[in-house]
């Protein structure tokens, strides 16, 4: 592991915030602090929180703003080391043995007897299990980046528990052990981001190796800033009403609260519909953009008029 000069975008907590803002990711102090520490302590960040609050997007924005390659590994049930770490190129190995078979006579032609032949063979480099025949998968690929990288291990909670154990070596020492070759260490430790939707409890061993960051639904002010960054042509008045409405919907008794990505989708939808301000009929017609369950839509639809009225009233002083 070589010491890499700290990129400008990670030199202080404020620098992280500014850097992320430059690619349109509005960061909070919690987020910036975690990223800053992740680089300086060389520890992965485990991000938990409801779906659609920008967990994956943080990794993407970090890679973009730091001009690092983003290496992404999507976890799923049954993910194993041949898909996460490395795989042998069997086809190439087969070809190699074929060639070896043909050439072997020439190679040991001048040796007398078995012992001499074997010792002659031992003199050759063992190519069969060598780096040339190794197919790198995301984790190994991340170790091999020379200019730094962002490694995103997405939805770790979807993987099996055995896979967590596999990750421990990578996450704590930034190295991978290939039994046939030895240990491959990271040239430059990658910035590792793990995300989890909490569908199952993660193991303690994994948690203890990571910094923990919990991203929750944002407050109205932050949400407005995020939507403005993502949908710049939205009018001030519509933005204020829309955010106020979403915040109210989150407080209702529904199963799946709308997240930031849904707010952004909704803002785009309303702009396509040339809306200048919220009106109950349009809101009712586009509820399926923010609510993804029929029971939730049924719950909110009758209350739309009063929720819109309240949002309009609260934001009367804006725009």
């Amino acid at each position: 592991m070589t010491d890499q000069p700290t990129p400008l975008g990670l030199s202080s907590i404020e620098a992280v915030t500014d850097n992320l803002a430059s690619v349109g990711y509005i960061s909070t102090r919690d987020i910036s602090t975690a990223v800053f520490l992740a680089h300086h302590l060389r520890k992965p960040v485990l991000i938990e929180g409801p779906a659609g609050v920008g967990k994956t997007d943080l990794a993407r924005s970090l890679a973009l703003s730091l001009e690092y390659p983003l290496i992404r590994m999507q976890c799923y049930e049954g993910l194993d080391e041949s898909k996460a770490l490395y795989e042998w190129k069997y086809g190439k190995q087969l070809l190699y043995t074929q060639i070896l078979k043909e050439k072997i006579h020439e190679l040991i032609a001048d040796a007398d007897g078995l012992d001499a032949s074997v010792s002659k063979l031992a003199g050759f480099k063992d190519l069969f299990f060598s780096r040339d025949f190794l197919e790198p998968r995301p984790l190994l690929k991340a170790m091999e980046q020379t200019g730094g990288s962002v490694l995103l291990i997405d939805e770790i909670d979807k993987s099996d528990e055995e896979f967590e154990a596999l990750l421990l070596e990578v996450l704590s020492d930034y190295q991978i052990t290939v039994p046939e070759i030895g240990t491959i260490g990271a040239l430059v430790p990658p910035l590792v981001i793990l995300t989890s939707n909490n569908t199952r409890e993660l193991g303690d061993a994994l948690k203890r190796r990571c910094l923990h960051l919990h991203i929750d639904f944002p407050d109205a002010e932050l949400e407005a800033r995020i939507v403005r960054a993502r949908v710049p042509d939205i009018s001030q008045r519509l933005l204020a009403q829309l955010v106020s409405f979403i915040q109210r919907v989150r407080g209702e008794n529904i199963r799946k609260a709308p997240s930031i990505s849904e707010t952004i989708d909704w803002a785009r939808t309303l702009i396509l519909l040339h809306a200048e301000a919220l009106d109950p009929d349009m809101v009712r017609g586009t509820l399926n953009v923010i609510l993804k369950r029929q029971s939730d839509i049924d719950e909110i639809a009758p209350k739309t008029a009063s929720l819109v009225a309240a949002s309009v009233r609260d934001t009367a002083d804006v725009g």
């Binding site: 919690d30 602090t33 520490l37 302590l41 199952r200 923990h212």
Partner: protein, 452 residues
């Protein structure tokens, strides 16, 4: 500062977060990086390193504010050492001073840092950090005062009070005021320690007590605590039973997936893919008697089951007294307490009839019950002398995977009076007496175990 950090981590551990040594080292490195001057930066940074879940983050936020409160941060152990030396130097001064004098000095001192320091030292001498219960506060306060020298002061106070001269009286008044002032400060100090070190331990203890307390003897305050406890127990059960939903079926080759995996190797099977067996998700049909005496138990059972819902089980819930009603929808759409009240109000009014309820279940919801279903019956089996319909019970037992009966009455009273427990018992896979929340947890654990 390192000592302060170590103590803070101790407080976190006392509050029930499992901070490991590695994390403690990380915390020290973190402080080296972010510095000590900005309190809020310190707070978020330590939060990221030391707290590894939302609950732990809450604990961290609360404790950080208590521990690194502005007046507390000044108490730097390094400074404590120098102060002590100063004090030692003071004592070699011309005026020989005894403990009582020093106590008076302390009480009248304007320098609050010095008082805080003395309290800190006395506190650690008497082990104030080990406080576990709020009721220990008075005792520890007294011990701290004794450490500072209140006994000498009191001896002198008695002496002065006996003299009956105006001057002695005035002196006595001053001494009493000093004692009261310092006592107040010491008490505040001990209460602070309790918040940091004792509160969580006390909570844990109280939680243990309520889980073992009979459900029908729970008081109103216990009930509120109970909800948290049940949530925690349910979470534990969910973690335990949510994993391992599929097992490798060794020896059965999955030919389709093996060929697919080896297409790149000319279909030579380097990678062999075995078939998986998917385990059944527990399916529970809960049938609960909600009449009078049993209602309280139903509340807890359903609270448990609803916290496990989706993660672990397919759940159908029915309530009955005279007739059977499907209450799943009510529980889903309303907040738990109000849903329970509605159910008990609507369903629990008529007189209990187990036979009729079994008949309702059988005629209307028979499709729900198959060889993967556990039928969970909660009730005392007191059917007001109506026909228990054992024939239906037998059919139910034949069709379901298991029939589990939880009875709030102790075994001794089964079969007495109008109780049909002994008649129903032969058809049940398992019958158990439940009295406490711990019993319910155990019963549900057993039930889920049957699916592992």
């Amino acid at each position: 500062m390192e000592a302060a950090l170590t103590n803070y981590i101790r407080a976190l551990r006392a509050a029930g977060t499992g901070v490991s040594t590695t994390e403690a080292i990380d915390a020290a490195r973190t402080l080296d990086i972010v510095g000590y001057d900005q309190r809020d930066v310190m707070k978020t940074a330590l939060g990221a390193v030391l707290a590894k879940s939302v609950e732990e983050k809450d604990i961290h936020d609360r404790l950080f504010d208590l521990y690194f409160s502005p007046s507390n941060t000044k108490i730097d152990p390094d400074k404590a050492a120098t102060d002590q030396e100063d004090e030692a130097a003071d004592q070699t001064g011309p005026e020989p001073r005894d403990e009582a004098d020093r106590f008076m000095d302390m009480a009248q001192a304007a320098d609050s840092d010095r008082v805080a320091m003395a309290l800190q030292q006395a506190g650690s001498a008497v082990g104030a950090d080990n406080i576990r219960f709020a009721s220990q506060t008075s005792f520890l306060t007294r011990r701290i005062l004794e450490q500072i020298g209140v006994k000498a002061l009191e001896a002198r106070l008695i002496d002065r009070l006996g003299q009956h001269t105006p001057q002695a009286n005035a002196e006595a008044e001053a001494m009493m005021a000093a004692r009261a002032a310092l006592q107040q400060k010491a008490r505040a100090f001990v209460e602070g320690r309790f918040e940091m070190f004792g509160r969580a331990a006390q909570e844990t203890f109280m939680n243990e007590v309520v889980t073992e307390r009979a459900i029908n003897a729970l008081s109103r305050t216990d009930m509120a605590r109970m909800k948290h406890v049940v949530a925690r127990m349910a979470k534990r059960l969910a973690v335990k039973h949510a994993r391992r939903r599929r097992v490798k079926n060794r020896g059965q080759l999955d030919i389709r997936r093996t060929l697919r995996a080896n297409a790149g190797h000319d279909f030579i099977p380097f990678d062999v893919v075995w078939k998986f067996k998917r385990k059944d998700k527990p399916k529970i049909v809960a049938v609960c008697d909600v009449s009078g005496s049993v209602a309280q138990y139903v509340r807890f059972l359903l609270l448990f089951l609803y916290m496990l819902r989706e993660k672990v089980t397919d759940l159908e819930t029915f309530a009955f007294s005279g007739n059977l009603t499907d209450v799943g929808q009510t529980l889903l759409t309303h907040e738990f307490d109000s849903a329970m009240n509605q159910i008990i109000f609507k369903v629990g009014a008529s007189s209990t009839d187990y036979g009729q309820s079994l008949d309702d279940l059988w005629s209307r919801h028979a499709a729900l019950i198959d060889h993967r279903t556990t039928v969970l019956i909660l009730g005392d089996g007191r059917s007001n002398n109506a026909d228990p319909r054992l024939d239906l019970m037998r059919e139910l037992a034949d069709k379901a995977k298991r029939v589990v009966w939880l009875c709030p009455e102790p075994e001794a009273s089964w079969g007495s009076g109008d109780s049909c427990m002994l008649q129903y018992r032969p058809f049940c896979t398992h019958v158990s007496h439940i009295a406490t929340a711990a019993d319910i947890e155990r019963a549900i654990d057993d039930m889920l175990m049957a699916y592992d």
